[in-house]
């Protein structure tokens, strides 16, 4: 395994600053964080506390102003954009709050997207997609387009897309933020199963304490600083 000492994610003294109209806005201030393999971690905090920014840094879709983010043994700041994209494809499964499925593709095609980046044959891709859809309980919806699915179903397709390539780390940005209580509970249960049964490491951003209860560990972020 690429991680050191069982640590999958290591964030060291990370700062992130945005500029709005030339005004410096510090979002993260000296974050230190470790996530071990197989953990299910919830990251909580009020709006604007920097939760999503930290998640983006760990997922390799943004870069810190200062500090080091090491995931699966790779220091992300050292990777060139093309290698970083390949690294994301291999290691990260991203679940968005608004699902972000491609509307012109069916559920099957959406789930297949990450596999297009692999060397798998069409037959192997098909097998994997059906496995992922089966895991989220949507085998019968494979040919449906996102507009033909409910919010909960869309999020389950998004989860299938996130896990289909068997990534090292699942990151979820408010995965239940746009769902009703019933669907939210289903999604959280699904994430729990992925963690317990498939030993997936999960980092979930949420502002919902009920959602955070499903995780094994909860971290609190406020004004860009992790609370003890």
């Amino acid at each position: 395994m690429e991680s050191r000492n069982g640590n999958l994610v290591e964030v060291r003294n990370v700062h992130k600053v945005y500029f709005r109209d030339r005004i410096e806005v510090p979002v993260l201030q000296g974050i230190d964080l470790t996530i071990r393999e197989g953990e299910f971690v919830a990251l909580m905090g009020p709006s604007g506390s920097g939760k999503s920014t930290l998640l983006n840094l760990i997922a390799g879709i943004d870069s810190p102003t200062k500090g080091e983010v090491r995931v699966a043994g790779e220091s992300l700041g050292r990777l060139k954009p093309s290698r970083l994209a390949a690294w994301r494809a291999r290691h990260i499964g991203f679940i968005f709050q608004l699902y972000n499925l491609i509307p012109v593709l069916t559920a099957y095609q959406n789930v297949e997207l990450p596999l297009l980046l692999t060397r798998l044959t069409a037959k192997d891709r098909k097998k994997r997609v059906h496995f992922a859809l089966d895991l989220v309980g949507l085998t019968g919806r494979a040919k449906h387009f996102p507009r033909q699915l409910s919010g909960g179903e869309e999020q389950r397709v998004a989860i299938a897309r996130a896990i289909v390539a068997d990534p090292t780390l699942l990151v979820a940005d408010e995965p239940t933020g746009d769902l009703d209580a019933k669907n939210a509970a289903d999604i959280l249960l699904l994430l729990q199963r992925l963690n317990r049964e498939l030993q997936k490491t999960i980092l979930m951003v949420t502002h919902d304490p009920h959602a955070a209860e499903r995780a094994q560990k909860t971290l609190h972020l406020d004004k860009g600083v992790l609370q003890p």
Binding site: A85, A89, I102, L105, L113, L116, L117
Partner: protein, 382 residues
């Protein structure tokens, strides 16, 4: 290939927009092929010209004829191995819009001087034997449904009255560049039908020379012979004659090239705008694809691929339509473009132009998409 489905799915997202873009490119490429074919049809007449054939006409203008008596003196010029002559008839069939070329030719010598015009020997023989006979090109026969034995009434404009010719032969060109839209009939028949004062005058003489190298000296010699006569001559190669004929309507090639380029350029700007709009609308989706691990290069190829597919579809439609329409309608622009055929080279040029349009129109949006910052793009939506 596995990404092609993604390209197609994106194009089908806004069907109306894609259709209109494809259609506008198709119209531009149709016009391009049409204008280009005007040029190639001019060029075809130049290609069909023989290097060993000279044209002798009145020095002042084609309008003025030359005496028939010149024939013997032309035949005696050193280097000349054959002489034929003819008059432009300038008539129409039934309706003034049914115009095509008609020539009154010296039948005994014309096939000798124009070996690229071929007809079965028995038909040539029948044409020679009958003074009111005519021989017509294969394309002309096809266009009007004429066959051997038909009588064709032609209304003369230069030579007034209705003239009736019996079809005794149908000729073909040895190459595709040879005009097959002309009617040839007996110069003698025309000459005898004219009033006394207009008889024994010839519009053009064609000379066959022994070698292309003799074109310049023979031309100078001929013009020198008649320099001080009441009807001085202008002698030039057939190619120069055709080029001069074309230049009578100005620098057509330049004009058509400018018009064609302007149309294609205007449509390209429209396509660039459309593709940029299409890519901008998908900012989030592009960010999502990048999050999944699609590299900048792959995103660039996908977006550029969409523009390329749209342009090539438009190109295929426009060029294909031009080839089909002008083939099926046998268009000749009232006989002005007897060889109006969309050549394979024109179609290939059109498709290459479509590809260039696709690449240029897709480049901007593709680069923007490739350079998109994921976090910023996702933040704008959230």
């Amino acid at each position: 290939m596995k990404y092609f489905r993604l390209v197609l799915a994106n194009l089908m997202r806004a069907k109306r927009r894609t259709f209109l873009t494809v259609f506008s490119i198709a119209v531009a490429l149709f016009l391009f092929c049409t204008l280009r074919t005007v040029i190639t049809s001019f060029e075809a007449s130049l290609r069909a010209s023989q290097a060993t054939r000279l044209v002798v006409r009145h020095a002042a203008s084609l309008v003025f004829p030359l005496p028939l008596a010149y024939r013997e003196r032309l035949a005696q010029v050193p280097g000349v191995t054959g002489v034929t002559y003819g008059n432009w008839f300038g008539g129409f069939y039934q309706d003034p819009k049914n115009q095509f070329a008609q020539f009154a030719m010296d039948v005994p010598t014309m096939f000798d001087l124009f070996p690229e015009t071929v007809a079965p020997p028995d038909q040539v023989q029948a044409f020679r034997a009958e003074r009111t006979a005519c021989i017509i090109g294969r394309a002309l026969a096809k266009k009007y449904g004429w066959k051997i034995g038909d009588q064709i009434p032609i209304v003369g404009t230069i030579y007034p009255g209705e003239w009736r010719f019996n079809v005794r032969g149908i000729y073909e060109g040895k190459t595709r560049d040879v005009d097959e839209n002309t009617l040839f009939f007996h110069w003698d028949f025309l000459n005898e039908s004219l009033p006394e004062g207009r008889r024994n005058y010839v519009g053009i003489y064609w000379l066959r020379i022994r070698s292309p190298d003799l074109a310049a000296p023979v031309s100078q010699r001929v013009d020198a012979i008649f320099e001080n006569s009441p009807q001085p001559t202008k002698t030039e190669t057939e190619k120069a004659f055709q080029a001069g004929f074309i230049s009578m309507i100005g620098n057509v090639q330049l004009l058509l090239t400018i018009i064609g380029s302007a149309i294609v350029f205007a449509i390209m700007l429209v396509t660039i705008n459309t593709m940029m709009m299409a890519a901008r609308e998908r900012t989030t989706e592009i960010a999502v694809l990048k999050t999944l691990g699609f590299s900048d290069g792959l995103i660039l190829r996908l977006v550029a691929g969409e523009a390329l597919v749209v342009s090539l579809l438009g190109g295929l439609l426009g060029c294909g339509l031009a080839a089909l329409v002008f083939h099926e309608t046998d268009f000749t622009a009232a006989g002005f473009f007897p060889n109006f055929r969309v050549l394979p080279a024109t179609i290939l040029t059109g498709l290459a132009l479509a590809a260039v349009m696709g690449i240029l129109s897709g480049l901007g949006p593709a680069i923007s998409a490739a350079q998109l910052k994921i976090a910023s793009a996702l933040r704008k939506v959230a």
